[in-house]
């Protein structure tokens, strides 16, 4: 089966700065794939090119079988997105936000069912700006699913969430993948990538410097003779925190 996302020698410069400098990778149907890297590594630029929001200077990108450069709106029809630093219009209740975006895709959806699938059915009549951070992220995922996308792009979906909300979102992402949707995400959290992703690409300076499954990357590192100076603890602070506060979602 051909890859659902296929990127070859993608380049994008802003003046002197090479934001994306020859990136190539494939994402297979049904994968959870992450782009990792420090700030300014080129993750968001890469993702926004794939989403049809920016034009690459050169290189090709096929998303769900559509050439992003030739048919950006065709790509938009087939993907779901969650953008960094974006927001929904104010004074709309959660359910109207879903209806609104369905309208943008010229689709009719069961907005209550979609809200239920992200655990927001009891917030349907709440103004979206009154939702908590985690709830808003889940609403934004519900919105990204209105067009039954083949690929879901999540740009730093868990930034700013508390540990409970993060784990809740991971479960949601797994459930979406279980329904056959490919997920391509970016994150700063390496534990998130390790727990969630089938494969990760590590970017730095606009290039991909490593690409494999988390386990293989760790094995390769150990194979190069790496050892941690301190013996791995049986538990970490994350475990303590979750043990003390539980895994239930906290929301006003």
């Amino acid at each position: 089966m051909p890859p659902v996302v296929s990127v070859r020698e993608l380049r994008k410069s802003y003046g002197q700065i090479k934001a994306v400098d020859g990136v190539s990778f494939d994402v297979q149907e049904g994968e959870i794939f992450a782009l990792l890297g420090p700030n300014g590594a080129g993750k968001t630029t890469t993702v926004e090119i794939l989403e049809g929001l920016r034009q690459a200077d050169s290189g090709t990108a096929l998303v769900a079988g559509v050439d992003v450069r030739k048919d950006p709106s065709g790509v938009k029809e087939r993907i779901g997105v969650q953008l960094q630093q974006s927001a929904f219009p104010e004074n709309f209740v959660a359910r109207e936000i879903v209806d609104l975006f369905a309208l943008f895709y010229r689709r009719r959806v069961d907005s209550m069912a979609l809200l239920r699938s992200v655990g927001l059915e009891d917030k349907a009549k709440q103004k979206q700006e009154k939702l908590s951070g985690g709830q808003r992220q889940r609403l934004s995922i519900a919105v990204a699913l209105v067009n039954e996308p083949r690929v879901l792009f999540l740009d730093e979906p868990t930034t700013g969430l508390d540990p409970q909300a993060r784990r809740n979102l991971w479960e949601l992402v797994r459930a979406i993948r279980a329904r056959g949707t490919t997920v391509l995400l970016t994150t700063h959290y390496l534990d998130e990538a390790e727990a969630l992703c089938d494969r990760v690409a590590i970017m730095d300076g606009g290039r991909i410097i490593a690409l494999d499954s988390p386990a293989s990357l760790i094995q390769a590192l150990l194979g190069r003779g790496f050892s941690k100076p301190i013996v791995q603890q049986q538990a970490n602070l994350d475990d303590v925190f979750l043990d003390l506060t539980g895994r239930a979602l906290r929301e006003a």
């Binding site: 989403e51 929001l53 938009k76 997105v81 974006s86 219009p89 004074n91 109207e96 943008f104 010229r106």
Partner: protein
């Protein structure tokens, strides 16, 4: 189309939850109207009319008594022509009407001329003179008509004549409507789009396949509908709560409203294209709207505008809009009568549409 209409409907529903927008869109203009309506700034127009009766016959007396029944007119009949004209010059009179010695109310006999009333006006008071002239010519027309039709009802259309008595709220209401449309067009567009651009709302929408023109069309349509609703509510409150007399047709008012709204929406989109932050929006909308608020005759007659600003004031979009609305509402003008203003609005619509098309950007 379903996309545009559906989006418009959702935008309208969201608008009803936006308390700030509702306040500035509906309550604020009503407060203005209430405030100025209660103060009754300027009072009602009164015309000091001196009548010099050189005929002194039964018919001239009847004519004078007819004039006496009109509330707007304050009539004196004591002086002679020279004395009264002198008082007109000094500003003690607004108008002087001279009834010639051959005055009579009867069909003209063949070969003889019709008696001519002479009306002296003061160039210092063009407004009051115009009101007085309108009343007098209406009375004279009525009388002539009555005489030639041999139906002796001089008082037949007197009600309509007194109906022309302009209260300040009558004058004010079209101005407030014009102001509201201007605010809706410019401020609501500038603040909404600048804020949505800054918060990343537009970025999110542009990540969906909705065409930009549909997105903008829905926002324009929503505001056109709002403009109509605002005007209808303002008119309803004006008529029922402040007893404002609207003489002209509602259809004509709404048509002019829509045209005005189009002009100001285009201007709003053009201005928004130049703005990046909400602070800039606050300054820019004031720069565009404030001069028009004072120069375009919202609260006071444009006669108060200093002469050196007149050439500008006469061509501001709100001037055309207010003049047209006011002519229709207070004198019953038709769309043809206000053709000049409509032409002016059309010109502004074209110019501002081109500007909006060039300047406005979504991201």
């Amino acid at each position: 189309m379903r996309q545009i209409l559906g989006y418009t409907a959702l935008l309208l529903r969201a608008y009803t939850r936006d308390r700030t927008a509702m306040f500035f869109g509906f309550l604020f203009p009503l407060l203005f109207m209430a405030l100025f309506g209660v103060l009754n700034f300027g009072g009602s127009v009164r015309v000091d009319l001196a009548v010099v009766d050189e005929a002194k016959n039964e018919q001239s007396a009847a004519f004078i008594s007819t004039l006496g029944k009109i509330e707007t007119l304050r009539i004196t009949t004591t002086g002679d022509r020279d004395a009264e004209v002198a008082k007109l010059t000094s500003g003690d009179r607004d108008l002087v009407l001279v009834i010639p010695s051959d005055f009579r109310i009867a069909p003209a006999r063949p070969g003889s001329s019709v008696p001519a009333l002479t009306l002296y006006e003061s160039s210092a008071q063009p407004d009051t003179a115009a009101v007085g002239r309108a009343i007098l010519s209406s009375v004279v027309t009525d009388m002539s008509f009555a005489a030639t039709q041999t139906a002796p009802v001089v008082t037949l259309r007197r009600e309509e004549v007194t109906g022309r008595e302009l209260k300040y709220v009558d004058f004010l209401t079209p101005g407030i409507i014009g102001m509201t449309i201007m605010q809706l067009g410019i401020s609501s567009v500038a603040f909404a789009f600048v804020a949505e651009r800054q918060r990343g709302v537009i970025r999110r929408v542009m990540a969906t396949p909705i065409p930009r023109r549909n997105y903008i069309a829905a926002h324009v349509l929503q505001r056109l509908i709002l403009a109509m609703v605002q005007v209808l509510i303002l008119l309803a409150v004006a008529v029922f709560a402040f007893k404002v007399t609207v003489v002209g047709s509602l259809g004509a008012l709404l048509l002019v409203t829509v045209l005005g709204a189009v002009v100001f929406l285009c201007l709003g989109f053009a201005v928004t294209g130049l703005l990046a932050t909400e602070n800039q929006a606050a300054v820019a909308t004031q720069i565009v709207t404030l001069p028009q608020l004072f120069l375009s005759g919202v609260f006071f007659s444009r006669d108060a505008v200093p002469a050196f600003l007149k050439p500008i004031a006469d061509y501001l979009p709100l001037t055309f809009l207010n003049d047209a609305l006011r002519e229709i509402a207070t004198t019953g003008a038709t769309l043809v009568d206000v053709g000049g203003d409509i032409l002016g609005l059309f010109a502004w619509a074209v110019v501002s549409f081109v500007a909006a098309y060039r300047l406005f950007r979504l991201d």
